[in-house]
């Protein structure tokens, strides 16, 4: 009995260890964090952000098209390097990373119609 309890404790601990390690790997930033998302700023300014292996972009998707959008990318120079952020790209709202850099994601922000207020930044 004691032996069985001992075994089950070991099994439980091992399974927790495996699950924990698997989940820990999932926490680390990776290319799988890249993607697409959409938001609504205020009542009527709908906008969206996307990040890919090559860079990131933000755009307004509502018909009004009356705010201003910006985007920046965060990336690694190489596997194991620290994470860097680009400056904000604020016109066409595209930002690109150099070939060989590892894209981790994009930050996206938009001003509401009237330029005064800002929504974001949000991450894709």
């Amino acid at each position: 009995m004691t032996r069985e309890i001992g075994k089950s404790k070991v099994a439980l601990f091992t399974s927790c260890l495996v699950v924990g390690i698997t989940q820990f790997v999932g926490v680390a930033p990776s290319a799988s964090a890249l993607g697409y998302d959409a938001w609504l700023c205020g009542r009527d300014n709908q906008w969206a952000g996307q990040s890919t292996s090559g860079g990131a972009s933000t755009k307004e998707t509502s018909a009004s098209d009356c705010g201003s959008v910006k985007v920046r990318a965060f990336y690694k120079l190489y596997s194991g390097s620290q994470t860097y952020y680009t400056g904000w790209a604020a016109s066409s709202s595209y930002v690109f990373v150099n070939p060989g850099n590892i894209m981790l994601g994009g930050n996206h922000a938009v001003t509401s119609c009237g330029v005064i207020y800002e929504c974001g930044p949000f991450t894709t």
Partner: protein, 174 residues
């Protein structure tokens, strides 16, 4: 002993399990191309800007000198807050710089950007969009795809979208 193992397991779950679940829930794999928009309330207060940035914006046009001066104030402010801004060369008259993660997520650096540089930066980039590095990047992509290159970035993006090509990767979507 039982308590000890319980504590270890609980600590393990807290350390790895909870953040992983939270992260996974916060970053679901997005479904392209349409995600339902989530309603966000804009920040309540307008961001303050320095009197000098205000004066740079006052006539509706930002000069290159004003753009450079505003950028210098931003980097000096960030440095005073303890963060170095790594500045590369000017690319198509826009500063190519990068921040460390700590700097990028610092409220002080965010304030420096907004207070000294943000609106001047936006105005300068918008005014020079069609001669920017983005314009060069998109032109190269259009050429690679055999699509005639128009003169504006807006039109370049339209053409790439019509051809179902992602401008950031220059690859076909889907």
């Amino acid at each position: 002993m039982k308590t000890r193992i319980g504590v270890i397991l609980a600590a393990f779950a807290m350390l790895f399990g909870v953040p992983a679940v939270v992260t996974a829930c916060a970053n679901p794999q997005p479904a392209r191309p349409i995600a339902p928009a989530r309603s966000i309330t804009p920040s309540a207060q307008p961001k303050a800007i320095s009197p000098i940035q205000s004066s740079e914006l006052s006539n509706g046009t930002v000069t290159f000198d004003e753009y450079q001066a505003a950028f210098r104030r931003f980097t000096a402010c960030a440095q005073q807050a303890g963060f170095n801004v790594s500045v590369g060369s000017l690319q198509y008259n826009v500063y190519n710089y990068r921040l460390t993660e700590a700097a990028a997520n610092s409220k002080q650096v965010e304030h420096c950007y907004d207070f000294e540089f943000g609106q001047v930066d936006t105005a300068w980039q918008v005014a020079n969009e069609n001669t920017s590095s983005t314009s060069v990047h998109l032109s190269e992509c259009l050429k690679k795809q055999g699509i005639p290159v128009p003169s504006t970035v807006k039109k370049m993006v339209e053409l790439l979208e019509q051809a179902s090509i992602d401008p950031t990767t220059c690859k076909r979507i889907g």
